[in-house]
Amino acid sequence: MNPRDDPALRPLINESGIEIKPVYTAADVAASGGTAMIGLPGEYPFTRGIHPLMFRKRPWTMRQYTGFGSARDTNRRFHYLIANGQTGLNVAFDLPTQTGLDSDDPLSEGEVGRVGMAVDTLRDFEIAFEGVDLDAITVSLTINGAAAILIAMYLALAEMRGYDLKRLRGTAQNDILKEFIGRGTWVFPVEPSLKLVGDTIEYCAKEAPKYTPVSVCGYHIRESGATPAQEIAYAFCIARAYADEAIRRGLAVDEFAGRLSYNFNIFGNIFEQVAKFRAARGLWATIMKERYGARDPASMLMRMIAGGGGSGLTREQPELNIVRGAYYGLISALAGAQTMALCCFDEAYTIPTEYAQRISLRTMQLLIEEMGLCDTVDPLAGSYYVETLTNQMRDKIEAIMADVDARGGIVKLVAEGSIQAEVSAQAYAHEKALEDGTLRKVGVNCYRIEEETAKVECHPYREEDARAQVAALRRMRAERDNAGVQRALERVHRDAKAGVNVMPALIDAVKAYASVGELTREMVAVYGRYREPIRF
């Protein structure tokens, strides 16, 4: 037989476009760039991990994405998860909060408390974090368009509860550029949005230096159709845009870079994913050191939450998502993630029930307790395949970044909708590949069952809770010092107009119980609203 006819020898290309050979040897590692970038864990260029001992010292933080209904409902779920061994919180906000609307806004109709917790004023934060020690449990806020306001609320809450802001830890997602590519909870146009990210970085660098004001998300770009290599490349281009903005304001790189973090996706080919993360760590360290002149090793660390995997999960045979989640958790652990969160098996149907959340949490605990994943750092190091792929992924990511730069940079490409059009074209190609069978998905285009047997219990949405949220907001508006609120809102408006950092004004305003909607309105009056370039 002609070897070209042997199916086992046909070219196999991974999602990022790299050809996968049937066997790897030391010669492949050498040909792909050798071992110069491997190094040791905790040492530059940190390919093998950002700490010398990694999980041996402390397992990854477990941080399931959680929030629904009112602050009271969400607080109950937080305590349930903490009681079950969760070590961090990851807050889901409802869509009105994410898009800067109050619960009584006509546009919020039907959306209050539906996909996350409803937040109108600081009072909601006070309730949501009741009984949570903000020093012991770090809190991550999944908020973008309205991030400056919600970060202001979190800092105000911590201060009011007596925490030292100089030592306060926690994270805000606050990555607006990816929000224009995927996820879509933008509020302001691109430029003022970037300016607001700069405000939060600058304010935190000075006042809350342990707080992580930005978690740059390749995650949602991948969910929108990007390849693993594009996921990292676009996220790095976005992170550079934020770093450039901070430097433009006069911050030194080592004043803020150690507090940038990342949020990446974990579904797909196990080896491609692990190589992706190893490559990305080395590349980010190089970028920070060589391009930005960082000297503090902390500035060079690619800290990340590697989790989710939403696009890998299926509506068909949903119980299989528990199995997929376990493999995704394995990827995240093998990749040396600082924090893990897993999408729940029922998420193609509903926001997760308590039961589904517990299974995801137990999946992570099982990896820690039973599977030996915390015993040794970067266990796939030295594999001919993984090291070759790590080198090749790094080349791929760099090439995509160079292409973005050559085309005018990420801010321009996002503003004109080019990246959106590109990932959307790939999402379409992906769907076609599923339909013609060139891409196989268990339960979807192979091994189907005609009668779905698993019954998924849907999380109930209670309209009376939305009405209660509106009533509480109106009560707050009646009871607070409205003259003080008015003054605070005017200051936000004035500071936004003057182009100075709006964080101090926002913090004062949230302390006076100004609402998310009121504050957003003041800023929209100055900054305007984003208009989406319609490309598909």
């Binding site: 898009t99 039907g110 996909v115 996820r183 909870t185 969910e223 509506r315 319609i534």
Partner: protein, 130 residues
Amino acid sequence: MNRPIRIVVAKPGLDGHDRGAKVVARALKDAGFEVIYTGLRQTPESITRIALDEDADVIAVSSMAGSHLPLCAQLKARLEEAGLGDKLWIIGGNLPEQDAPRLRELGFKGIFPTGSRLPDIVNYIRENVQ
């Protein structure tokens, strides 16, 4: 009908998940239909206006974040007021099975939950546009 079928693909409400809507929009275009995609955050009023302006034969709504029932109820009122009650209304997205009867009552004849196949959507439109 002697012109291509015109379809408005709309994203109502605050939901920002547009991967599915864009994939379906492309598939409909590839199938020879004329497609107008509205972009995110459309109100019932703006969807109705676009459908009128574009002389749409089909109004295709995508909802991923669970608020399809209240949004479709509002949309039904606006579309009927505008005299678009005889057009084909369809919906896709994250739609629990138990909501299907209510969606049909609201006038959304074609219901395509996550996992639906693109050719099925295309064929449904061909067969149901008068």
